[in-house]
């Protein structure tokens, strides 16, 4: 299977739907161990992404992802803005002039992950969205085509595991041990991103 520019739009619309309907939930997760703006920020950003994508027409997956990245970068703010912006920008750059087949797409996601780590100066196990991106990509490497159900479940499991991690990066790290027992908001929003990707793939079958 190969993703089209239209699939990217579908992916982002599905992501947006999830984030809008979970806006308050994300915010309440962030109130518990952060500053309570994650849902508000992501909802504002993805709403703008959908507006932007709707207003434009795209020849390539890379172009659609680039606009997604730039919009997130300039509309989300906080920590999540540069992180998601960077992730989608790396994916876009990596796919430039290429078809979005599984191999290329996976390579792109690996670039995204590297970008996230560099931008956030962080690693796996620090209770951030990297704890969803890293295991999802690791799992994808075991397969040679898109597998919606695997994608979704890996993302979901990884998100849930962030509950047990003690935060050492981001705002939750100020709480030290008190961060344990709470889901990481960024990991939950990242789960929605991958869940939406899984649904896009299923729809595209």
């Amino acid at each position: 299977m190969e993703l089209t520019a239209h699939d990217i739009i579908t992916w982002m619309k599905k992501t947006n739907d999830k984030i809008q309907s979970k806006k308050e939930y994300l915010t309440s997760l962030d109130q518990a161990i952060g500053d309570g703006d994650h849902g508000i920020n992501m909802a504002r950003g993805f709403n703008e992404v959908v507006v932007k994508l709707d207003d434009s027409s795209y020849e390539s997956v890379s172009d659609a992802l680039k606009d997604t990245a730039m919009t997130l970068m300039s509309k989300v703010g906080g920590a999540a803005g540069p992180l998601y912006g960077t992730a989608f920008l790396k994916l876009s750059t990596s796919l430039k002039g290429k078809s979005a087949d599984y191999t290329h797409f996976l390579n792109g996601l690996e670039e995204s992950l590297a970008g996230l780590k560099q931008r956030g100066k962080s690693q796996e196990g620090e209770k951030t969205l990297i704890d969803v991106w890293a295991p999802v990509i690791e799992k994808m490497k075991e397969s040679d085509d898109f597998d919606a159900s695997l994608l979704k479940h890996t993302a979901e499991d990884s998100m849930e595991k962030t509950k047990d991690i003690k935060a050492t990066k981001g705002r939750a790290s100020y709480l030290g041990d008190r961060s344990i027992g709470h889901l990481d908001p960024g990991s939950v929003s990242s789960f929605y991103v991958f869940e939406a990707l899984a649904e896009t793939i299923e729809g595209g079958r």
């Binding site: 109130q31 161990i33 500053d35 970068m73 709480l175």
Partner: protein, 331 residues
């Protein structure tokens, strides 16, 4: 949630309009941005000083724009770091050819967004330097973590770096003094009540009627310890002693003090705190060069306070004392 607002999504936009309307001769908003700048910015051949961060900390940061302090402030959404494009607009607004200096509070989001903006500016040939302020001793400083947060001590960085730039200091000189201030400033806060982000609609945490939270951040982040409300004297002791522990303060040292209100605490209570803080500092043999009591770095309608101490030397002193026309920090 009881607030005087219109649509909670537009509080920052509405606030900026009201702010410019109140200071039409001193401030301007850069069109289509959330950047506020001196009316006469950029100043040719002066290092531009830019700060910013999430909104909800008023008068930080736009209130510190003026002669001898900031050239521009970049206002993010509520408690949310502004985006790189906005910070870049702030840098451009402040750039008079001598480079631009960024005062960044140590939060992951702020650091990332300002760094990306600096990259954009450098790509356009604007020289940019920065300092990352991390004065909050409530949070452990370690290379394995995010490090300490930046809170009210940031105001001293604005003031002293701003005075250095106003006196004709080069970008490197401004950076040097800003780093010196950062190395010598420490703060710690507490809250009696939480605050509510308008668009969130409910408070960031809940405290019982007899509880207070020690080591609170300025974004409604929970603090480090929850306990029964004690007296003003005990609160003053707890915060001041913690601040005094972190770096060495010796008898005879000159210090500057901020007794900062978190937003809803009456000035009366801040002065009651100051009475005791003053006693503690004098007991330690410190020489209180200047005291600032008021709302300098707030957290919406949170009630509570923070204590900031800056250890001064002969270089910082005249810069702190230098004139400033910033509405929230007139000297």
């Amino acid at each position: 949630m009881k607030k005087i607002v219109n649509n909670p999504e537009y509080v920052v936009r509405d606030m900026l309009e009201g702010l410019i309307a109140a200071h039409p001769d001193a401030l301007k908003q850069i069109p289509e941005t959330t950047v506020v700048a001196r009316k006469d910015a950029p100043l040719q051949n002066k290092v531009g000083i830019v700060s910013g961060g999430g909104s909800g900390h008023e008068p930080a940061h736009a209130g510190y724009i003026g002669d001898g302090m900031l050239d521009a402030a970049v206002c993010g959404e509520m408690f949310t770091s502004p985006t790189p494009d906005q910070v870049f607009e702030g840098i451009k607004a402040a750039d008079g050819g001598a480079g631009v200096f960024l005062v960044i509070k140590n939060y992951t989001g702020d650091v990332m967004n300002f760094d990306m903006a600096a990259e954009l500016a450098e790509a356009e040939g604007i020289e940019v330097e920065k300092v990352i302020v991390n004065d909050d001793v409530a949070v452990e400083d370690s290379s394995f973590t995010t490090g300490r947060r930046g809170i009210a001590g940031t105001i001293f960085v604005h003031k002293i770096a701003g005075a250095k730039a106003a006196a004709g200091g080069s970008l490197q000189e401004v950076k040097n003094i800003a780093e010196k201030v950062t190395a010598n400033v420490r703060s710690m806060g507490m809250a009696l009540t939480p605050c509510t982000v308008p668009a969130a609609g409910k408070p960031s945490f809940v405290l019982e009627d007899d509880e207070m939270e020690i080591g609170i951040g300025i974004h409604g982040e929970p603090g480090i310890e929850r306990k029964r409300v004690t007296s003003a004297d005990e609160i003053a002791e707890e915060l001041t002693n913690k601040v005094l522990e972190d770096i060495e303060f010796n008898r005879g040292d000159d210090v500057a003090l901020i007794v900062n209100g978190m937003g809803a605490t009456p000035e009366m209570e801040l002065y009651i705190l100051n009475k005791k803080i003053n006693e503690i500092l004098l007991d330690r043999g410190l020489n209180i060069h200047k005291t600032f009591v008021g709302n300098y770095m707030t957290s919406l309608e949170m009630s509570g306070c923070s204590v900031t101490l800056l250890k001064l030397d002969e270089e910082m002193k005249p810069l702190l004392d230098a004139e400033s026309s910033a509405p929230a920090f007139r000297i």
